[in-house]
Symmetry: C3
Subunit: 332 residues, 3 copies
C-alpha cells in the first residue's frame, strides 16, 4: 500500500489531489476501482478516462480536463507506469521442498520439486522431478506436470492439464518503456496466467503473465512445443497451435482455430473462431471470417529464387512501366 | 494386456470377432503382429488392411469387407485409436536420486539428477546437475549430457552423444483426435526416441517420441538450439540443422543435408540426401533432387515492402489484365 | 599446455618449426599472441597471417610462404582446428550445492542450485530453485536469476540483470567441421558469454558462447523468450529483441535497434544503430541505414495464395514474355 504522495515522488509527478490517498493496486482504466491507480497513455482514451472509477490516474497534462479523480501529471506516462509497477510486484520467497502452507491433496510430487507458500495441488496430480511451483499457485486434479517445469507465482491451472518438461508458465511479459535517453525500463507484470481444464502445453513452451489483467488459456486448448504466448494473450476454447509458433501481446485467438507450426501472430489482433492458419504464415491483421489462410514464400531452387526475387522487389516499377493502375485490376 | 471385449466397451465399438482375444500392444497396420491391435482411418489403406497380420483392427464399417481378422467397428476410427492408446501407455514412477536397478558404469552424475528404474548409462558419460532420466532409458559411453536436461522413458541414446542444457528428449507428440463437439483428445505416444552415435543436440531443443514407431536421429546428426523435432521424424546420417528450425510429424530428412536456421518443414514429407535449405525457408513439398533451395521474402525498407505488397497480392489479376496465360510462359 | 610436436601428431600435420614450442591457448589470427596457436582457412587472410604475432599457425601448404612463425601444415585447416580446439577446452567439475571457493555476498540462493568453483555472486542477487551456475562465472549485484536456469562456465554477468526461467547462457556454439567422409566434427567453443548491466533475458532463451572470442550482450539490452543468440554475436546497447528471433553466428547488431518477433538474422552480418525490423522478416544482408525494414509474405485466404503463388514463381518468365528489361525499370 502506497499513498499518492509517495508515488508522485517516485515518478516525479505533479499531484492534483489528495497526497494521503492510499493505492492498493494497479488496474487498466476500464477496470480500475476506487482504491486503484491507473494510467492513460494518449488522448484516444479520454472517454475511458472520464468514465473511469479509478482512485487515481497517471496522465499527461494535456488530459487534465478529462480527469475527474486524483491525477498524477507526468511528461512520459508509460515510463511512469513502468516505474510504479514495481511497487506493486509480488515478492517471491524461496522455499526448500514443500512449504508448510501448501495444500497437497493426494498428489504425486517427485524429488527436487519446490512447492511454495499457499500452493494448492489437486488429487491425482503428478509433478515430475525438479519442477518449481511458486507461491499462490493452484493446480487442479488429474494433471500431469513434467520434470523441470517452472510455474511462477499466482498461476491458476485447471483440471486434467498436461504440461510437458521445460515449459515456463507465468514468466514476465516483454513490456518495456523507453526513456529520453533510449534506455529501457521493464514493466513489472502484475497479472497472472490462467489455464482452463483439459489443456495441454508442450515442452519448453513459455506463457507470459499479463501486465495488469491475466493471460488466459481456455478449456481444451492444445499447445505444442516451443511456443511463445506473450502477456495478455487470450486463446479461446479448443484451439490447437503447432510447435514454434509465437503470439505477441494482447492478441485474442478465437475458438476451434488451428494454427500451424512457426506461425507468427503480431500483437493486439483479433482472430475469429474457426480459423486455420497454415504453417509459417505471418498474421499481421485481424481475421474476421472463418476459413484457411496462408502467407508464405514458395520454396524454389536457390537460383530460381534469386531470379524471381529480382523482379519481385520491382513489382511497383513493373506496374508503372506497363501503365497498370490499381483500378484496372478491380472486378477481374 | 486387455481383451477385445474390454476395448470394444471403452470405445463403444461393435466387435466382430473374439471378445476374449488378448491384445498386447498397438502397431501400425503394416507392422502389426498376431497379438497386436491396429487401425485404418480410410479406404486408401484397404489393401494394407487385407494383407495385415494384426490380431484385431479398429475400422469404419465401410471397410468391414476388407477385414479378415477381429474387427472393432466405430464411426470415428482416429478418435477411437486416441482413446485406446492410453490403455497401453507406460506408467512412469518417480525416483529419488538413483534407482537401485539403474546400471551406471563409471559415469559421472551431478547432484540433483534423478535416474529411474532400468536405466543404463555407459562408461565416461557425464550428466549435469538436475537432469532427469526416466525409466528404461539407455545412454551410451562418452556422452556429455548437460544440466537441466529431461530424457523421458524408453529413450535410446548412442555413444559420444552431446545433449545441451534444457533439451527435452521423448516428450509426447502433438497428435490429437477431434470429436464431434470439436474437443481434442490426446493420443498417447507409445513409440520412443532413438538417437545414434556422434549426435549433438542443442540447448532447449525438443524431440518428441513416436506415436507407434520411433522418432529416429541417426549417427552423426547435428542439431542446434531450440529446434523442434516432432513425432516419427527421421533425420538420417550426418545431417546438420541450425537453430530454431521446426520439423513436423513423420517427415524424413535424408543424409548429409544442411538445413538453415528457422526453417519450417511440414509433416509427412520426404527430403532426399544432400539437400541444402537456406535459413527461414518453408518446405511444403517433397524434395527429390539434391541441391540448394530457398523460399523467403527479400528484406526491403518498410515503405518499399508496402508498395510491392500491394501488387504482389494481385499478381493473378495483373496476369488476367495483361491477358497472360500460363502456357505463354512455357519454355522461355 | 601442449607443445607443437604433440599437436602436430594429433592433427597429423607437417610441423615447420620447433616441436618443443609450448602453446598456452588458441586465438584468432588477428588477436593471437606469442604463446598462442591460430589458424588461417584460406588465402584471403594471407596478409593477416604475415602480420600475426601468433606463436604458431595451422595452415594449408599453399600459405607456407606467408607464414613467418611456426607452421602446422595440413590439408584441411578447419578440421584440424576443430580437433585441436578440444585440447584447450575447460573441463567442468560437478559440484554438490555451493562450492567452498564460491564467493557469495549476501545473495539469496534457492534450494537445488549448484554453484561451482570460483563463482562470484553479488549483493542482493537472487537465484531461483534448481539453477546451475558452472565454475568461473561471475554474476553482479541486484540480479534476479529465475529457477531452472543454466549458466555455463566462465560467463560474466553484470549488475541488475534479469534472467528468466529455463534460459541457457554459455552453451556450445554450433560450429562443426566436415571431414572428407562428410562426417561432422564439433569445434570446442573456448570463448565465453559476457552480459552487461541492466540486461533482461527471457524464458528458455539460449545464448551460445564464442568460438575463440566472446559472445557479447551489452548494457541495457532486452531479450524476450525463446530467442537464439549464436556464438560470437554482439548485441549493442539498448537494443530490444522480441520473442523467438534467431541470430546466427558472428553477427553484430547495433545500438537502440528494435527487432520484432521471429525474425531470422543470418550470420556474419552488420546491422547499424537504430534499425527497426518488423516481425517475421529475414535479414540476409548488412543494413547500413537506420530505419524500418520488412520482408514477409502477406497473409491471404489460402485459395488466393495458391493462385498468386503460381504467378509469383514465374515473375522472371512474365518479364521475359512482356519483354521487360531491368534497365526499363530504372528511375521510375
Amino acid at each position: 500500500m502506497y499513498n499518492l504522495g509517495e508515488i508522485a515522488k517516485l515518478i516525479n509527478a505533479e499531484l492534483i489531489g489528495d497526497a494521503k490517498f492510499n493505492i492498493s493496486s494497479l488496474a487498466s482504466i476500464e477496470q480500475a476501482q476506487a482504491q486503484q491507480l491507473s494510467y492513460v497513455v494518449n488522448n484516444k482514451y479520454s472517454k475511458s478516462l472520464l468514465e473511469s472509477k479509478a482512485g487515481a490516474v497517471i496522465i499527461h497534462e494535456s488530459l487534465k480536463d478529462s480527469c475527474t479523480t486524483n491525477a498524477l501529471i507526468v511528461s512520459d506516462v508509460y515510463l511512469a507506469f513502468a516505474q510504479v509497477s514495481h511497487l506493486f510486484k509480488h515478492h517471491v520467497n524461496h522455499t526448500i521442498g514443500i512449504h508448510h502452507s501448501a495444500k497437497i491433496n493426494n498428489a504425486n510430487i517427485a524429488s527436487g520439486c519446490c512447492i511454495s507458500a499457499n500452493v494448492t495441488i489437486g488429487t491425482n496430480t503428478s509433478l515430475g522431478g525438479n519442477t518449481i511451483v511458486e507461491d499462490n499457485t493452484s493446480i487442479g486434479e488429474n494433471c500431469i506436470i513434467g520434470p523441470n517445469v517452472t510455474i511462477l507465482q499466482g498461476s491458476k491451472i485447471g483440471n486434467r492439464v498436461v504440461i510437458a518438461p521445460g515449459a515456463v508458465i507465468g514468466s514476465e511479459g516483454f513490456g518495456n518503456a523507453r526513456d529520453a535517453n533510449k534506455h529501457w525500463h521493464s514493466i513489472a507484470h502484475l497479472g497472472n496466467v490462467i489455464i482452463g481444464d483439459n489443456v495441454t502445453i508442450g515442452a519448453n513452451t513459455t506463457i507470459d503473465r499479463g501486465t495488469l489483467d491475466d493471460t488466459y488459456i481456455h478449456n481444451g486448448v492444445r499447445l505444442d512445443n516451443l511456443i511463445h504466448v506473450a502477456h495478455n494473450v487470450v486463446i479461446d476454447e479448443d484451439t490447437a497451435i503447432a510447435a514454434s509458433t509465437g503470439i505477441a501481446g494482447s492478441t485474442y485467438i478465437g475458438k476451434r482455430c488451428m494454427i500451424g507450426g512457426m506461425v507468427g501472430i503480431v500483437g493486439h489482433l483479433n482472430i475469429c473462431d474457426d480459423v486455420v492458419i497454415n504453417a509459417k504464415s505471418t498474421v499481421d491483421k485481424n481475421i474476421t471470417s472463418p476459413g484457411m489462410y496462408t502467407g508464405i514464400m514458395p520454396l524454389m531452387p536457390h537460383k530460381k529464387w534469386q531470379i524471381v526475387g529480382v523482379w519481385l522487389i520491382k513489382l511497383d516499377k513493373i506496374a508503372k512501366y506497363l501503365n497498370i493502375k490499381l483500378n484496372h485490376l478491380k472486378g477481374n
